[in-house]
Amino acid sequence: MVDLRSPLQSREAPRSGTSKVDSTDRFAPGNARWLLSTVLWLTLVFALASLHPLFQGAVWWFVPALVSAAVLAASAAARAAHWPSAVASLAGLVVGGLATTLVVSGGTAILGVIPTAETLERVRVLAAQAQDSIVSDQAPIAVSDAMLGVVVVAVAAAAVVLDVVARVCKMPALTGVLYAVVIVVPSLIPDVAPSWAWVVATVVGYLALLIVSSGRRPSRAGVVSGLAAVVVAGVVTSLLPTSLIAPITGVGSGTGISTGVNPVINLGDDLRRGDPITVLSYRSSAPEGDYLKLVDLVDFSGTRWSPASTQLDRRNSVDDLPAAPGISTSTRRDTVTTDVSVNLLRSPYLPLPVPATKITGISDAWKYVDDSGVTVRSTSEGSQGLDYRVTSRPVDPTREQIVSALAQPSDDLSAYLDVDGVPASITRLASSVTADSANPFDAAVALQNYFRNGDFSYSEDTPVREGYDGSGLDMVETFLQRKSGYCVHFASAMAVMARTLDIPSRIAVGFLPGTRVGSGEEWTVSSNDLHTWPELYFQGLGWVPFEPTVGMGTTSSYLQETGAEATPSAGATDPASPSASATPTASAPSAATPTSTASDPSSTAGASASSGAGGIGGTPLVVGGVAALVVVLALPWWLRMGRRRRRLGQGPPDAALSAWREVIDTARDLGISVDQAATPQQTATVLLASVGAQSSAAAALDTLTAALSRERFGGVPAGEEASRSARAILSALRSGSSGFERARASLVPRSLFVQAHPRTAEGA
């Protein structure tokens, strides 16, 4: 062969494919680089704006938008100054850190931007506060400093990640994952409508990003799969009930946002699912088992009940529990010892028999919430797997004690009486039901009896079917007319009616006593034992639990008679009614009507009775959700395989071209830099380094290159040898790559998102 080296000296070294591989930089010099950062930022703030149903005001959006702009501008400026890409991202990170400090430090930082130890401590405190807010508040959340700080930190981090993914890793398409995570958040939260306009804006931004980053139109497959991923994610998440999402997003442990939304609202959804699982078991000295309370719902906004928004005080050690309020020393009380063993319940609140006086066996992370009633929670731990012992002292007053207690002056409990805008019909009904009652306590018992002994029926479906599911005033009104519902409706209605009678009330969320194991003191509590019940406050007796839900348990004897008759049949002296709220022959009903009271744990502010494997009663849905996730994740792979099959099966006249494109795309997928402007021979030289010069794949590479040249430039159609050679090259390329590269090539095939052949039509 003649030595036909190029006469141009500078061309004698074979031009390396790596010298001009980066299409991003080659097609996007100068201004276009700024453009890419700008589009990254715009898409981020669009995605962020899609969270607006969750927050009040606009500060939560505006400040993080500024901080993320600072991050991306810093790294873009550094790149414009020809800093190495990774160092530029680092610059973005530093600027992001300074800007974030400026926002969150609250004067603890040097010069306002350089964090000190004090700043870190403050961030920790803010994070805890924000977490409280997330767990207990309902959307839209009022944005506190703490919440703003958390959002700023998250968005700044997201900006850095975007910068690294798009600029350092040069995989702008992959940023779609982060954007998708942001925009599906509202879908995960019950009772919050996703902001579709912003979702669409985000998707458009993402497409613009693909175009800007590649300098050309993204491939059809890239667009299709990107859109499909967003749509599927949106549809899937909006179809799935909250309880399924909860374990996935980790809200069960109190870190997720979805627990921040009122628990009671979507209770019905969870009640209507089957498959109870055991969430905890306990051994109790109480003969009829214990009601275990997780959290109280105190605030009644008129549309829903929600927990009091309190922040955990670190001094509230459970070693020094406050006395239950309002119980006078003369009131007769029992002492019950309960050993709780939590199984699958993941909750930031501890299930406790009330009123607890002593808890042993849990860590310092658990604090009591406030003095109003002992509920215990943790910001850092979930309840899963805990074993602890609780001593509780439920009241068991005699009739005389009740009557005398009612005469005592009352503490100020106006927070529990707040109920604005109650429809007159409810007030009238409450008055008429209690017309014969001699005192507030009797009135409360009358109310309870009204529900339990009247025309009410238990139904999980009727409220939904007839459109009054929930606990707001409208719902209560409708419920009182239709007389059909489940525990949420009964508890809510009774609590509201009690407030109209000036009896302080709240709603407890927790568990029925559950099912007795054999005939001993062992009980198991399943997810279907989740329950809500009203607690009413009486001076001298403290918070007294009632059980208005028809068919649920049986009430304590002292709650069965009103003072009008004043015949304390057993009540006054009956020691066999120990457990606070009820002497529940609860085992039977709770087992018989398993789904009746299953207020959903994960949507409950405190109670997240989700199993690791799946939400309560949601196994099929979990399987479906996982399957959907797998489908979404596998979609790029599937599209890519389809394309490979089509290409390798291509016959003349484009057999070699299709096979060649498949080889190029696979190489790109595997992270091998392939110059899109190089001639086939030059590209083959680059690939040769990857497959090894001596391998059989090298021969296949020669064969394919020759076939391609003949087909494309010589007018001689290629035969089967093209796809055969291509297969040999593909397997050599794959086996020459690391496991990580192979995985990335399968899950996020680059070639699917950025078109490699800008000027040519795709062969079939």
């Binding site: 190029s6 061309r11 001639t679």
Partner: protein, 332 residues
């Protein structure tokens, strides 16, 4: 020219393998004279087979003339050599009509340009008037004296050498005339090994003298005909056009390449393909010849002189690198 066509039509085309074989023989032979310059020699032969003309630009003494003479000697062709000087007249090149008393008529005495291979040494030392006399014949392939056209022999190759324009006593070649050359090459200094070998060879005599014709004129014509028949696919044509068009919009260039450049690039690429025994042109052929074929036609914005030569090559190279190779006709 007409002769070539007739020959090609009369006889069957030379096999490409034979073309390659002859080419290799010639290149090997020239390689014994000019050591270590295979690339430049290949380009020179490419231009010969592509029916173009060659411009060799370099400092004195690196073997420009040696290369031209070796090429001429390796094929059995008539050779003439013109040393360009400032006082050279056009008629010294083209020839003159002399009145013949016996025939009572003007008789045309052909000048040195009437040869298969014309070596124009230091062409930029002659006045522009004389330069143009030679260069007109490049394109026309005929000489017109006193209204009578005299066709030049085929094949006809002009190998002009010139010194870089900074050299004393030079008239730089106008771009219109540079454009007539298919390619420009520069030899550069040999490396130390080649220079040592050269010294040893010259002790016993000039290797140029030992060179004998390897290919007959007829064989050379058939080789040229074979080159003409090389197939060019549409996508390769498009690739060449893309490259040439890119020179016209390049920010560093005041003047891009002409349509004539496109034609010559394609012809040179065909020749290069044939030298490699290939019956069709691939983009790499175009790549390989873009520098020599386009480089001397470009006028750089704000630069001139010797540095401009390599700068032009660099720009062409960057354009070639950035131009995507089409593998398929764009979808309509």
């Amino acid at each position: 020219m007409t002769t070539t066509q007739t020959t090609a039509a009369d006889s069957t085309l030379m096999e490409l393998g034979e073309v390659q074989h002859h080419a290799r023989t010639i290149l090997d032979a020239i390689g014994t004279v000019i050591d270590g310059k295979a690339g430049a020699i290949s380009t020179a032969l490419t231009v010969l087979l592509a029916e173009g003309h060659l411009l060799i630009e370099d400092v004195p003494g690196v073997g420009k003339t040696q290369l031209a003479r070796a090429l001429a000697k390796a094929v059995d062709a008539s050779v003439s050599r013109i040393q360009f000087t400032p006082d050279l007249l056009p008629s010294d090149i083209t020839g003159v009509s002399i009145f013949d008393r016996q025939s009572n008529d003007f008789e045309f005495k052909p000048g040195p340009v009437f040869a298969n291979i014309v070596i124009g040494d230091e062409i930029n030392r002659a006045s522009p008037k004389t330069q143009s006399a030679l260069l007109e014949s490049l394109e026309e392939r005929q000489v017109t004296v006193d209204g009578i056209s005299h066709p030049l022999p085929t094949p006809f190759l002009v190998v002009a050498t010139q010194n870089p324009v900074e050299m004393e006593g030079t008239y730089s070649l106008p771009e219109a005339q540079r454009d007539r050359f298919m390619a420009r090459i520069s030899l550069g200094y040999p490396d130390a090994e080649s220079e040592l070998r050269m010294l040893r060879q010259r002790e016993t005599g000039s290797p140029l003298d030992a060179l004998t014709p390897l290919v007959s004129l007829e064989q050379l014509r058939r080789m040229i005909a074979a080159v003409r028949a090389v197939y060019v696919a549409r996508v390769v044509e498009r690739y060449a056009v893309d490259i040439v068009q890119a020179t016209r919009v390049h920010p560093d260039l005041r003047l891009g390449a002409s349509p004539r450049a496109t034609l010559q690039l394609m012809r040179a690429a065909k020749s290069w393909a044939a030298l490699n025994g290939r019956g069709f042109v691939i983009p790499d052929d175009v790549d390989a010849l873009s520098g020599p074929v386009l480089g001397h036609r470009l006028i750089l914005a704000g630069r001139s002189g010797a540095g401009a030569v390599s700068a032009a090559y660099d720009i062409v190279e960057s354009i070639v690198r950035a131009t995507p190779v089409p593998l398929d006709e764009p979808a309509s």
